[in-house]
């Protein structure tokens, strides 16, 4: 049985037109490589050492262990290949085996990556909570200042976030500051609340790392009772006490790193995974919203306001559409209707005879501190 083939010896650049023959029996079986013209035997490969290399269709490439690294036998044509394969059944075994190896490696690597991602997704929020305890309050305050500067600079074109009442000694501002300190009392927080009522058409209120709280005029103007204003403010103070802003910052940085360096920035999958991470992020932040609501409930045990009113105010400005309900999974805030139900339940047995957060005069001053409802 003689099969024509091409042979590279792996030492000298060149080709040999050869005939392949089968020799020996049992463990001593070998492929004999014979020069096509001189019939001289130029190589002898033990059958057990021969392996295939992936090649194009209609070509079979063989290498062998124990011979020169680049030495190859190349057989072309389906008939010749079929004859070689019939004579060397272990080729198929070896191919199956190495395919199995690849599948195992890929499976193992995938499992390892999935484990890292899972550990990361569940670990980062937990870790962020721990790390935030290690951040010195002074540092957090400095970061809060930077964030505020960046934010005001980015809004500079629309006039920034100007204070409604720049006089810190005004009736409204002193009342708000007093409420802030009272709400913070006993929490053990290293920060002093710095509450700023600013002019903005967007109904919003948020807390920055380090204790600064922004309350937009559009939200204040939508408030119909002091309870609503006090409730939202107490909720934001809850964020300051829990250091949620800082925690969020650390957590986001962590998940961002996951997307980038585990998956490689340029695979499409990283963005898909990023969306997954975003869901985890928002679940985490919805949890911190609930915690901040609970803080407002705690404050309402010391001052006379109904914390459930905060959900009323937020519900009023944020007309919940079918769309926001549909995207609830991606929203950072729990649905206000759910929050209202929870807050109502929690604030049922508030102690009686507490001092109201603001006097009637103070509330009137606060309501009018941003002027008449010029901006919506």
């Amino acid at each position: 049985m003689i099969i024509p083939a091409r042979y590279y010896d792996g030492q000298l650049s060149g080709t040999h037109e050869v005939f392949l023959a089968h020799d020996g029996a049992g463990a001593a079986q070998a492929i004999i490589v014979q020069d096509a013209s001189s019939r001289e035997i130029i190589a002898r490969w033990p059958v057990a050492a021969v392996k295939t290399i992936p090649a194009r269709k209609g070509e079979l490439r063989l290498r062998a262990s124990g011979v020169a690294d680049g030495a190859r036998i190349v057989v072309t044509g389906p008939d010749h290949i079929a004859r070689i394969r019939a004579g060397l059944p272990q080729l198929a075994d070896h191919e199956r085996q190495s395919r199995g190896e690849q599948v195992r490696l890929l499976g193992l690597a995938t499992l390892a990556l999935a484990a890292v991602i899972a550990a990361y997704i569940f670990g980062v929020p937990l870790l962020a909570g721990r790390i935030v305890q290690l951040v010195p309050p002074g540092w957090e305050e400095a970061i809060g200042d930077t964030v505020a500067t960046q934010m005001e600079a980015s809004l500079a074109a629309e006039g920034g976030l100007p204070l409604c009442d720049p006089d810190p000694q005004s009736l409204a501002n002193t009342a708000i500051a007093r409420f802030g300190n009272a709400a913070m009392e006993g929490s053990g927080s290293p920060f002093t609340p710095d509450i700023r009522i600013v002019r903005s058409d967007i109904p919003n209120a948020f807390a920055l790392p380090g204790g600064r709280i922004y309350f937009h005029s559009a939200l204040l103007n939508a408030a119909r009772a002091p309870d609503e204003f006090a409730g939202v403010l107490a909720h934001e103070i809850g964020h300051v006490v829990h250091r949620d802003g800082m925690e969020q910052l650390i957590s986001t940085a962590g998940t961002g790193a996951l997307i980038g360096f585990i998956l490689g920035d340029l695979t499409g999958l990283s963005v898909a995974a990023g969306l997954g991470a975003a869901i985890i992020d928002t679940r985490f932040s919805r949890d911190s919203e609930r915690q901040a609501d609970l803080y407002a409930v705690e404050v309402a045990r010391r001052l006379d306001f109904n914390p459930a009113a905060l959900a009323v105010l937020l519900g009023r400005v944020d007309q919940e559409s079918a769309f926001s309900r549909a995207l609830a999974l991606l929203s950072t805030h729990p649905l206000t209707q759910d929050r209202k139900v929870a807050l109502d339940a929690l604030s049922r047995d508030r102690p009686a005879g507490l001092e109201p957060p603001f006097t009637a005069d103070e509330w009137s001053a606060i309501r009018h501190m941003c002027g008449p409802r010029t901006s919506r």
């Binding site: 590279y8 194009r56 190349v74 940085a253 549909a326």
Partner: protein, 401 residues
Amino acid sequence: MASGVQRGAITFTGHRLGLGAILLRGYLLMVPTIGLYRFWLTTWKRRYYWFNTTLDGDALEYSGEARQLLLGFLMALAVFLPLYAVFFVLSTQSRETVIIGYGAVALLIWFLYGYAAYRARDFRLSRTLWRGIRFDQTGNAWGYALRRFLWSALNLATLGLAYPFMAGNLWAYRYRHSWYGDRPFAFAGSWKNLAVPYYLCWLVGAGLIVTLLVVAAQSGLYQSIEAVGAAGWTKMILLAGGIGVLVTFYRSIEMTRMFSAIRLGAAALVVHVRFPALLGIYVFFGAALLAAYILLAVGGLVVLGAVAGGAVEGHNINIAALLVVMQSSTLALLAIISGYLLLFGAFAFVSELFLGYGYWRMLAKSARITGLEALGDIRSRPEDKALAGEGLADALNVGGY
């Protein structure tokens, strides 16, 4: 020698369909493997290109393995982990620091890109065999990165006038450090090969760019986008297209002259890249991409119609009805993720199939080797095993093949 094959001929025996099947299978397998299959896909892709390219009747062989790429990628993470820490710290700093810091990181990445590109080339060359002999690359990847970095800075500072010198220098560095077995390549080209066509194209290009800017100013683009009329858009698109054609024309000349300057002892590579062929690749690519996205849009509407029955009424989409269906936010999320993956996948698929494949096939078809007889006494050198994958190259996505 094999009969019927012209001495020194380079042929390409692949088919777009064959590569398409590999790519399709690879993209599908990337989903359950969280993207890790890309190392196997790259390996299969290279095998396809290499094995289907024959030089003087003998096919190239790619001996790289997916696990080497995987390992290299893991090592690259070690570089990027600190970079991400830097990004985080930067994001909490003042605006000036952020701008300076991001600029510095961008420069660092631009520098690392040169290193990665050189290492990736080393990996590919040292895993390429022809007639049982390995190619290889020596030289210093850091040195190359620095060289490329400084040249590109000079090129930027001179508005592109330094380009022929940069190209000549870097091509020469790459090829003078490339080996086939125990014989080094040589590079017979220099800036002189490029200067005349480059500076002519530079002048015409500068004229086109200035005209484009003037037309944009006249049609009022700088005041508002809506102010630009149909005539203004037509002119601007024609001018931009003209710049694209000019760049392609220059590229065909550069490729022809530079590839033809590659020597291996007495053997020489002769390449003639035809401008229409190169332009055709881009035109085909654009058409295929357009077709793919139209197909995706139609498919998306059909799926939407199936999922959200009532939402699609004739040609209009009833947003309210659609939102009702999307109430189940898991479904909405799934739609977003799969939609994104499809868009991205389609782009990668079409790019590889039309740009990558087209480019390789055109080069193979337009090249041949003279003086092959001189290669018969080249001996092998041991495999360069020091390289674990392409490391940074994979992380920076360097190199198309």
